[in-house]
């Protein structure tokens, strides 16, 4: 096996485990255990477990990364004591939240109160499942993976609204309302910015979009689309300056005011999971994914798991930009968000679509080069 892929790791582990199990079992049971369907099934389970572990681990490291960066932006140092440079601080915090009691307000609706966080968490995890990480490190070459990811991404306001409404708290309800109102401000420009990428790459598949960027990454020619996408993604992730649903200064803690303990940890994890997915989408659509430009020496791109290394490096740098924006800009008001969304971002995204059409028409743009292959 020349390259390590997610498939090879999962199936290799499954066959190794079942082979070891079969070697100590009698004949009939051995045949049942080492059946190819059983191996495949266990492989799929291991596959899902790897994805889950990778997403959770990256989310926790992302929280650490944000805390360290934000500390420097505020002339602090961030977490310092637990683990090397505070790497284990979030595990300690998570353990503390895990030990806490789950408190439900008496008047709250139990069904919505408890299913809201779970659904929010689960939908955020599903998005991670459709994203390709590197060559061979994806859960299937879905032809419409970009569309699927964005569709699942926009589920969140529904579950936020459900959990906010069933909390039976006016601050929670206001936060949920704001989340729903915010959605109509950013969803249209977000999708229009993606349309520009789709026009140039000619595909809805994230893997294809990455491979279409072999001549030039899209952030240069589609700079307007990148700006609109990042701004709309900030609103989608509900991060400062667009964290209206969770405005600590106005609504106590927004839509998760009534949540404590592990349910709050679910919301927190899901928030950062969505931030991770947002950064990954920026890297996939505009920064060439796991590929590197041709002028990079091949030694830097040919070592084992080099694709994952460069991909994660780009992801964390993009998230660093999100943290930079968070440290710089104040929170906007609802009317300002709507005005920015409709008056500024929609015209800009239409301009981006127009520029993408021009790029496809002229095919070659100095200094970027030529569009490699036009699917349309």
């Amino acid at each position: 096996m020349s390259t390590i892929t997610l498939y090879s790791v999962a199936y290799g582990l499954a066959s190794l485990l079942l082979g070891a199990l079969g070697s100590i079992l009698p004949g009939a049971a051995r045949a049942a255990v080492t059946n190819v369907d059983v191996v495949t099934g266990l492989g799929v389970l291991i596959f899902a477990a790897i994805l889950l572990a990778a997403s959770m681990l990256n989310t926790i490291v992302l929280i650490w990364w944000e805390r360290k960066l934000l500390g420097r932006f505020m002339d602090r140092r961030g977490a310092m004591h637990v683990g090397y440079a505070g790497l284990l601080q979030n595990f300690a915090d998570g353990f503390k939240l895990f030990r806490k009691d789950t408190v439900k307000p008496r008047e709250a609706d139990a069904l919505g109160f408890f299913t809201g966080p779970a659904a929010y968490m689960v939908t955020s995890m599903i998005i991670f499942g459709v994203l390709p990480i590197s060559t061979g490190w994806n859960s299937g070459a879905l032809p419409l993976s970009l569309l699927l990811a964005l569709a699942i991404f926009s589920f969140a306001p529904l579950f936020i609204f459900v959990s906010a409404w069933s909390s039976n708290n006016k601050y929670s309800l206001m936060g949920g309302m704001r989340s729903a109102a915010q959605m109509i401000a950013y969803e249209v420009p977000l999708l229009l910015a993606v349309v520009a990428v789709v026009i140039v790459s000619g595909s809805f598949s994230l893997t294809t979009i990455v491979y279409e960027q072999q001549n030039y990454w899209y952030w240069g020619p589609l700079f307007v689309a990148l700006i609109v996408f990042v701004a709309a993604m900030l609103a989608e992730m509900e991060r400062i300056p667009f964290d209206l649903p969770e405005a600590e200064a106005e609504l106590v803690e927004g839509w998760n005011t009534e949540y404590g303990g592990m349910l709050f940890a679910f919301f927190m994890l899901a928030d950062y999971l969505r931030a991770l997915v947002g950064s990954i989408l920026v890297v996939l659509l505009f920064l060439g994914g796991w590929t590197m430009p041709s002028w990079v020496p091949s030694a830097a791109t040919s070592f084992p798991l080099a694709g994952i290394f460069w991909f994660m490096l780009k992801t964390y740098l993009v998230f660093g930009v999100f943290v930079w924006i968070r440290a710089s800009l104040p929170r906007v008001r609802t009317d300002q968000l709507l005005r920015v969304g409709w008056n500024r971002m929609i015209p800009l995204s239409l301009l981006a679509v127009f520029l993408a059409a021009v790029l496809v028409t002229v095919k070659c743009v100095w200094p970027f080069g030529c569009v490699p292959s036009m699917g349309v």
């Binding site: 002339d75 602090r76 310092m80 930079w324 924006i325």
Partner: protein, 259 residues
């Protein structure tokens, strides 16, 4: 009054700058903090470490050095039990009433040696006690790490304060230049009964009981029943602790200026 229109975007301003300017500021702050953070990682680094010497100079406007800035920090006390004379002045002067005089080993059974025990839960680190100490045995050091998980551990016994003294921390030098005290213990002779209490309790043994001539009794007059001795105070040895005044049963000793 601010109208809603006042908050609208002004047509002349470039709204790109609203985003660019704060982000440039934050980036500048980030770069500065990356190479020279203001925060000191306290348990691992301390402000008194030599690498932060320049910061101390900037903060105080004075040069860093012994006796200049750092040395007159008022931290935990150091007590030299050997030179303590049990004069009680530290406990008298304490505004927080956090000093108790407790018995330590080394005194004779009739007059036990008493040394200060300090409750740091109450102490305000004003330094009056070390100012008042006539022998210079109770001084303040520069140690400031006194937090303990138990409240009872905040009470420092004389032995514990002596341990601080043994650790030879930099001492607060402010009490070394102590102004001369002009006060003296004066005696109101007719009231004295010569009971020896003042001389007995004087921590510095500077009171001597001297004989006074017994007057001839005139006919019909009754001499007071007393011992015909009177205290004489050696002012150069006296530490002005006032113990003699407080123990005098006839209240015949008082503060005054010797003519």
């Amino acid at each position: 009054m601010a109208t809603p229109e006042a908050n609208e975007e002004k047509p002349g301003e470039n709204s790109i700058l609203w985003v660019a300017r704060p982000m440039a500021t934050a980036a500048r702050q980030f770069t500065k903090s990356l190479f020279r953070p203001s925060t000191i990682v306290y348990p691992y680094e301390r402000l008194e470490d030599p690498k932060f010497r320049d910061r101390l100079e900037v903060a105080s406007g004075k040069p860093f050095g012994v006796g200049e800035v750092w040395d007159n920090y008022r931290g935990v006390h150091a007590l030299n039990i050997a030179t303590c004379i049990s004069c009680n002045l530290c406990a008298f002067s304490c505004p927080d009433i956090c000093i108790d005089m407790v018995t330590v080993a080394g005194g004779d059974p009739k007059h036990p040696k008493k040394c200060p025990q300090i409750d740091y839960g109450k102490c305000s680190y004003c330094g009056f006690c070390s100012d008042a100490c006539p022998e210079g045995c109770l001084t303040m050091t520069t140690r400031y790490e006194l937090s303990t998980p138990k409240r009872s551990e905040m009470v420092y016994s004389p032995e514990k304060l002596y341990q601080v003294f043994r650790s030879k921390l930099p001492m607060n030098p402010i009490r070394l230049a102590r102004p001369a005290n002009e006060d003296a213990i004066l005696l109101d002779p007719p009231l004295c009964i010569g009971c020896n209490a003042c001389a007995r309790d004087c921590p510095t043994n500077c009171i001597t009981m001297l004989d006074v001539p017994k007057p001839e009794a005139k006919p019909g007059e009754k001499l007071p029943r007393r011992i015909w001795k009177e205290p004489v105070v050696n002012d150069s040895d006296c530490v002005r602790c006032g113990t003699c005044i407080s123990v005098c049963p006839k209240e015949c000793l008082f503060w005054g200026t010797r003519k």
